[in-house]
């Protein structure tokens, strides 16, 4: 699947002395190619997360359009767009994102529970957890996990529906070197098997795995 953004921008309203409108992402085009890893680097506050949120269907651009193949994402209803996110787009967000009252296994199965039967994907979930090295934590509650374990759980959750497009916002932020390599390798394999991957990161190592590298500075994509 091909993800194409045309002249998207995003403004936020916030109280400041000069103007209330703040442009987090300035007008830009973007193409996420199939079978490739695209990496966006840049300083904190540059607009990387905002851009990625717009591309993955979580945040409507102030202007411009985002197409998934022929489909204009933001012309869809919330129901339809949510379902597309669920089925075609895997998102590993920034920060720690476990549902504390569920076990690791249930957390990974959350995307399946929304529109289907989680029983059918249990084995796949266990395989993913195994690859990420946390299969022994399957029945532990997310509230008892460390930051790195939570991150790996979030990666498994993003991949459980075998999405064609993968967004990863600083996915290796709190992982050790070894696990970081595992994650990069996993993303590489996914790209090689035809998935489109967009990764936001600070890690220099990530550039080795990247097919395209972009830099984001003050809302401008370079």
């Amino acid at each position: 699947m091909k993800l194409v953004a045309q002249k998207i921008s995003r403004q936020f309203f916030r109280n400041s002395q000069n103007t209330n409108v703040f442009e987090a992402v300035k007008e830009t085009d973007f193409v996420l190619e199939e079978g490739k890893i695209s990496v966006i680097v840049g300083r904190s506050g540059g607009g990387k997360t905002t851009l990625s949120n717009m591309l993955c269907g979580l945040l409507m651009p102030s202007s411009g359009k985002v197409f998934l193949d022929e489909c204009d994402l933001y012309a869809l209803s919330d129901d339809e767009r949510s379902k597309i996110r669920n089925q075609y787009i895997g998102i590993v967000p920034q920060g720690q994102t476990g549902l504390s009252s569920l076990t690791v296994l249930d957390n990974v199965l959350v995307p399946v529970m929304m529109y289907g039967d989680p029983e059918t994907k249990k084995e796949e979930a266990m395989t993913l957890l195994y690859r990420l090295g946390i299969d022994d934590l399957a029945n532990v509650y997310a509230s008892d996990l460390s930051g790195g374990e939570l991150r790996r759980m979030a990666i498994a959750r993003a991949l459980i529906n075998n999405p064609e497009i993968i967004f990863a916002d600083e996915p290796t932020g709190d992982l050790d070197d070894e696990t970081t390599q595992i994650v990069f390798q996993l993303l590489r394999e996914l790209a090689d098997s035809g998935h489109s991957v967009l990764m936001v990161t600070h890690e220099k190592d990530a550039l080795e795995y990247a097919d395209h590298v972009f830099e984001m500075k003050n809302g401008v994509l370079l």
Binding site: L58, L59, D78, D79, K83, R85, V110, P111, M113, S143
Partner: protein, 402 residues
């Protein structure tokens, strides 16, 4: 649906303090609504059944029947006592103008009864003229009470032999009446001839003159009067009080009016209190939901990433609210049933009003009503907070610092 169920169940189980506080709140709410509603309904039913049954416009009792207390007791509680007026005085009542129907009653307290440990009130009625007790008796017994027959109130234990012993004679129980919630439930009813026999026996057996030299054959304890259509009950009562010195007449309208206003006052207070409790619970639940919305906001953002639509987020909120309020409401109503139903008689005594548990249908309606109100009180804040949280798109994004 699956996600809503799994998440709700686990949130309730794992966030124990939060769930416990919410369930407790709903429990208190549903208890208050149920108990309050049941009390109002019981009061209304008690009074309705009682006033409907009494049917008299004016009641006349002898002066020595502790002036007003006796009439109060007859009206409010169906409690009678041992007081008698002579046949001469009663005859004078018949001479008063404006009377449509008139019926005498004769009261006797048994000294010792074979039926129960406590003393029993026996009420003698005149089947030919009675318009107060018989219509009510006819609900359970259509036959004619013969000599020696008795009918007993709901609280009287009827032995297998179906006979009760009064002053040396056995009397046959032909029927047992339905519950009224008043003192009438502990009384025994019979016809004039039978009660006069008992009274005469009591004199010979106990060798006392409980009847103050009144001739038992012509005496009566109370005279119930139905007033002619175009006549005013107050006027008739006043007439009696002016012309006959040894008796006291009271109109039921004045009694019932004060009783009714008393009841509607009590009902209104209970109703208002219940309403206040409901609104209070709603406000508290709103606050609680607002307080936990920070935590939920992050939960929602995570679900959003995994493909949850706003609709699914609403489903999750509703499911959790419904589960919590169902648990709370069931517990609250159960506690209400356990507490309110047995304490009806205590409450009745406290309020000095007849109180009668509503029937099964009314009870089921009350249960459903309290349940619905408890559900609503939780669902409204839950949906309101879900609406607030999902209103803005950026509100559903994970925050950097989160």
């Amino acid at each position: 649906m699956r996600i809503a169920w799994t998440l709700s169940i686990n949130n309730i189980r794992r966030k124990l303090f939060r769930s416990f506080a919410l369930i407790l709140l709903v429990l208190c709410l549903s208890f208050a609504v149920f108990a309050g509603g049941m009390t109002i309904m019981s009061l209304q039913k008690g009074l309705n059944s009682y006033t409907a049954r009494l049917g008299a416009d004016v009641i006349v009792v002898p002066n020595n029947a502790t002036s007003h207390g006796a009439v109060d007791d007859i009206f409010l509680q169906g409690i009678t006592g041992n007081y008698y007026m002579s046949g001469r005085d009663i005859q004078k009542i018949y001479g008063i103008e404006g009377i449509e129907a008139i019926s005498k009653q004769f009261y006797l307290t048994s000294a010792k009864a074979s039926c129960c440990s406590s003393r029993v009130q026996i009420i003698g009625i005149d089947p030919e003229t009675d318009f107060s007790i018989q219509p009510w008796i006819q609900d359970t017994y259509q036959g004619k009470m013969g000599m020696g027959d008795i009918i007993v109130g709901a609280n009287i234990n009827v032995p297998l032999s179906r006979t009760l012993r009064f002053y040396g004679n056995d009397y046959y129980v032909v029927a047992q009446l339905s519950r009224t919630g008043t003192g009438l439930d502990s009384a025994v009813y019979t016809n004039m001839a039978t009660i006069k026999e008992m009274a005469a026996n009591s004199v010979t057996l106990l060798d006392t003159d409980a009847f103050n030299s009144v001739n038992i054959d012509t005496a009566a304890s109370a005279v119930l009067i139905k007033v002619k259509k175009n006549k005013d009950a107050e006027t008739v009562a006043d007439d009696i009080n002016i012309h006959i010195t040894k008796v006291e007449a009271s109109s039921s309208r004045s009694m019932i009016a004060s009783l009714m206003s008393g009841l509607s006052g009590v009902s209104r207070v209970i109703g208002i209190l219940t309403g206040i409790i409901w609104i209070l619970a709603l406000v508290i639940l709103m606050t609680v939901f607002m307080m936990i919305s920070n935590e939920r906001q992050k939960e929602f953002a995570i679900l959003r990433i995994s493909g949850a639509s706003r609709k699914i987020l609403f489903e999750i909120m509703s499911m959790e609210a419904l589960l919590i309020s169902s648990i709370g409401a069931v517990l609250g109503i159960l506690i209400g049933l356990v507490i309110v139903v047995p304490s009806a008689s205590i409450l009745s005594g406290m309020l000095q009003l007849p109180l009668l548990m509503p029937g099964l249908m009314a009870m089921i309606m009350m249960i459903i009503g309290s349940f619905a109100l408890a559900l609503l009180a939780t669902l409204i804040p839950a949906l309101w907070s879900a609406h607030k949280m999902t209103k803005s798109e950026t509100g559903l994004l994970l925050r950097e610092d989160a």
